[in-house]
């Protein structure tokens, strides 16, 4: 440090810091006393903090601090407080029949929001973040076509009992026969049925093939899908006359479906989620696409009670 030319500045009587930049020197002006005390105070604060709170990282965790504070503890407290805050609303939803929810807009809104949270945890894996489903795999919940019915009570039943759960008696079950694989219809006949289905959904014009298919349809398909292909909700048979196709409405897709149906499954949430959550979830699904029959849903057929 021999090159430092520290000296006392004549004008101010203060020593310089010893550097020189193009002729400019800096005075080594003392800091004010209050600054020093503030500095000491920050040291005291820091030491106190280290003693009171988790601070030093160790091998597998940090020092605990004498207050025993942790961010996880804070979270647990917040969650408990939040559960307590929500309790009145949740209890009110629990005490209200799902069909009465739309008559209480505030409760319905709370249910839709709570259901949305549950949906994002349990349902988005198959039905997608917005309930739009996955093309040719999982049904969309946002449109106006419902396999089992789209009123609140029916949705709740579907969510509770699931679809085609082998170990559950009350589950919704429909089984479309594998017409091709099991040899009920041959390839030509399946082609004719496909032609007929595509004429009733206004995708093809009436042809010889579709006329033959009409007879085959009446014999093999009408029992579930209805004489005109209008669908049958008691057995979850899709409507075949509209523009919505679960597994595709083109010739190849329809042929594949008739040859070897897919028979999708949904877990039953009855055993996994509490009834209030299921109720809220159903309200959310109902609200996704506006549900069916507006705000005063009319149970389709016997609805929840009529299922096997």
């Amino acid at each position: 440090m021999a090159d430092l030319k520290q000296r006392i500045d004549e004008a101010t009587g203060t020593s310089t810091v010893g550097h020189e930049w193009d002729g400019i020197e800096e005075l080594d002006t003392p800091m004010p006393r209050w600054w020093l005390w503030t500095f000491y105070a920050t040291i005291v604060w820091g030491l106190a903090y280290v003693v009171l709170y988790p601070a030093w990282p160790m091998v597998d965790s940090a020092t605990k601090g004498v207050l025993g504070w942790s961010s996880r503890g804070d979270l647990a407290k917040e969650m408990a407080a939040d559960a307590k805050r929500r309790a009145p609303t949740v209890n009110a939803i629990a005490a209200t029949a799902i069909t009465d929810l739309p008559a209480k807009p505030e409760l319905m809104q709370a249910a839709v929001q709570g259901g949305g949270a549950a949906f994002r945890v349990h349902c988005v894996q198959c039905h997608g973040a917005g309930g739009a489903g996955v093309k040719n795999l999982y049904p969309s919940l946002t449109d106006d076509d419902w396999l089992w019915g789209g009123d609140l009570a029916t949705i709740e039943y579907t969510v509770t009992h699931g679809i085609r759960n082998p170990d559950h008696k009350a589950t919704r079950t429909s089984l479309m026969p594998a017409f091709g694989r099991d040899g009920i219809l041959d390839a030509a006949q399946i082609g004719d049925v496909v032609s007929f289905v595509r004429t009733i959904s206004r995708q093809e014009k009436v042809s010889a093939s579709s006329s033959r298919g009409a007879t085959l349809f009446a014999d093999n398909c009408a029992v579930c899908h209805g004489a005109g292909g209008e669908g049958g909700r008691q057995v979850g048979a899709p409507k075949l006359t509209d523009a919505i196709w679960l597994y595709g409405g083109d010739r190849d897709s329809l042929t594949a479906t008739i040859t070897q149906p897919r028979n999708g499954v949904m877990p039953r949430w009855g055993g996994r989620l509490d009834p209030v959550t299921i109720k809220m979830l159903s309200a959310y699904v109902y609200a996704l696409g506006g549900g069916e029959k507006g705000l005063a849903p009319v149970a389709e057929g016997a609805g929840a009670d009529g299922q096997p």
């Binding site: 520290q6 009587g13 946002t142």
Partner: protein
């Protein structure tokens, strides 16, 4: 030359106690101007929350109110909602450019007259003079032993400090709630904890910063003087000691003994004695100078006493200083103030203000914000129509309930309905009832034929159905499946 070791051993300590500043009372035009500014700013600060302003039953009747709980900002006739925060941003920009304008024209006038730190420090220095006496008495008392008199005076002085500080903190919270109600709540223990906390913090900071730290805030803590030095130029008015006229300085006696040997400065030190930051302006421009011009008053007084012309210390630009030093005369003050730089600042400042006023006059109090639901972008309906979902945020910013119509244009064959009804009730137009002073969120379903472009812009608009038909509209996208999908 001393070695570094010597210096570190014996030079000034690293930390230094504050040197007391005991400014002397002074009178003069700048002091009176400072009084006036202090009176006006304090009156505005303490008085504004108590001005009433009738806005009808749905809004508070306080003229200036920052309603954090309900996210509203009221300023007389103007009501700002959170999404209109750009008005506040505009005000801040105007304040910034206003400071550029003032600084480029008259230097640190903000610091000298209007800065809260200056105003409260000035106020507390008057308290000092009131309790302890003027400068000399203050110095005597500060250096004297702790007698009963000193204890009493300190107790009285600090009590007055605390009262002022408490009043200052108390006035602050009045801007955030209804002032009369909050005052009653405050004294009956009913006010929110944050109110007491804020008053405590504001009282403490006023007491400490105004009562004790004073000029140290300006010199050590405030960034503004550093910024200002960069914003001033050689045409800005600064408080300047005209050393070419004053030096060499000498007392009247010396000057009489040696005619012609001395300048006008009689070295009476009055300029130092009255300075609220304790600097000697005769050492030239420095960061401690807040240009309050009290030294000008003091020097003019002294010059009048000895029969010399005023203005030995005066507002003067660096350019004029050079001119006068060379024997010339400075520019007239009008030319100093009205020059391209200040005029441009003023033009920009005025333009922003005018633009804000214009936009305030034009804005509707029925605001619409549309959000397109993106998951999924579109839904195929069973009859082949395509439905898109939107979330409408309708802000009724008037203090009365309103009925509005929502309709779409630019989307042929479209029908709309909300989640309050089913598609059977869908139509070209829906009517909604909006509560007063509120934001209503509505889920809007729009269905249109599947034939059309995959992406189509259309307009969702609102219209008032009662009185004021003005509304708002948003252009938003309608999505359809790509061909073949």
């Amino acid at each position: 030359m001393a070695s570094p070791e010597d210096l570190s051993g014996q030079s000034a300590p690293l930390y230094e106690a504050r040197k007391g500043v005991y400014p002397k009372a002074v009178n003069g035009p700048f002091r009176r101007f400072k009084w006036a500014i202090m009176a006006v700013t304090l009156a505005i600060y303490y008085g504004t929350p108590w001005i009433r302003w009738d806005r009808g039953p749905y809004a508070p009747d306080q003229a200036v109110l920052v309603d954090l709980a309900n996210r509203r900002f009221y300023m007389f006739q103007i009501e700002i909602w959170p999404h209109e925060f750009y008005y506040v941003a505009g005000l801040l920009i105007m304040a910034g450019i206003g400071l550029f304008l003032v600084t480029s024209a008259v230097g640190r006038a903000w610091c000298g007259y209007a800065c809260p730190q200056t105003v409260w420090t000035d106020l507390f220095q008057h308290v000092d003079r009131l309790v302890d006496g003027d400068r000399n008495a203050q110095v005597r008392l500060a250096n004297g032993p702790w007698t009963a008199e000193k204890l009493t005076k300190r107790a009285v002085k600090y009590s007055i400090y605390l009262t002022i500080a408490f009043w200052t903190g108390g006035a602050w919270i009045m801007y955030f709630a209804d002032a009369p109600t909050l005052t009653a709540d405050f004294w009956t223990g009913q006010a929110a904890l944050v109110a007491y906390g804020t008053v405590a913090v504001m009282t403490a900071t006023t007491f400490i910063l105004g009562g004790f730290m004073r000029e140290q805030v300006c010199v050590y803590m405030c960034p503004w003087p550093r910024i200002q030095t960069a914003m001033m130029d050689e045409k800005s008015l600064l408080v300047t000691y005209k050393d070419w006229r004053g030096e060499p300085r000498g007392s009247v006696k010396k000057a009489q003994a040696h005619p012609g040997g001395f300048g006008d400065c009689i070295d009476c030190n009055q300029c130092v004695a009255v300075c609220p930051t304790g600097i000697d302006i005769r050492e030239g421009p420095q960061i401690g100078c807040i240009t309050c011009a009290l030294c000008i008053d003091a020097c003019d007084g002294a010059m009048a006493q000895v029969g010399r012309p005023r203005g030995l210390i005066d507002y003067c630009t660096l350019d004029d200083a050079a001119t006068e030093k060379a024997g010339g005369t400075g520019q007239p003050i009008r030319k100093t103030l009205l020059r391209p730089r200040t005029l441009i600042y003023f033009g920009v400042w005025t333009a922003i203000g005018a633009a804000m006023l214009f936009s305030l006059g034009q804005r509707t109090r029925l605001d619409l914000a549309v959000q397109h639901e993106r998951s999924p972008l579109f839904v195929q309906l069973s009859d082949g129509h395509i439905r898109n979902n939107y979330t409408l945020k309708l802000r009724n910013m008037e203090t009365r309930p309103r009925r509005v119509a929502v309709s779409v244009s630019g989307l042929p064959g479209a029908v709309l309905w909300t989640d309050a009804g089913s598609r059977e009730k869908a139509g070209q137009r829906i009517e909604l009832a909006l509560p007063a002073d509120s934001v209503t969120s509505v889920k809007l379903f729009v269905a249109a034929p599947a034939i059309g472009p995959a992406r189509q812009d259309f307009t969702i608009g609102t219209r008032g159905l009662d009185g004021d038909p003005r509304g708002d509209s948003d252009i938003i996208q309608f999505d359809r499946p790509e061909a073949g999908q």
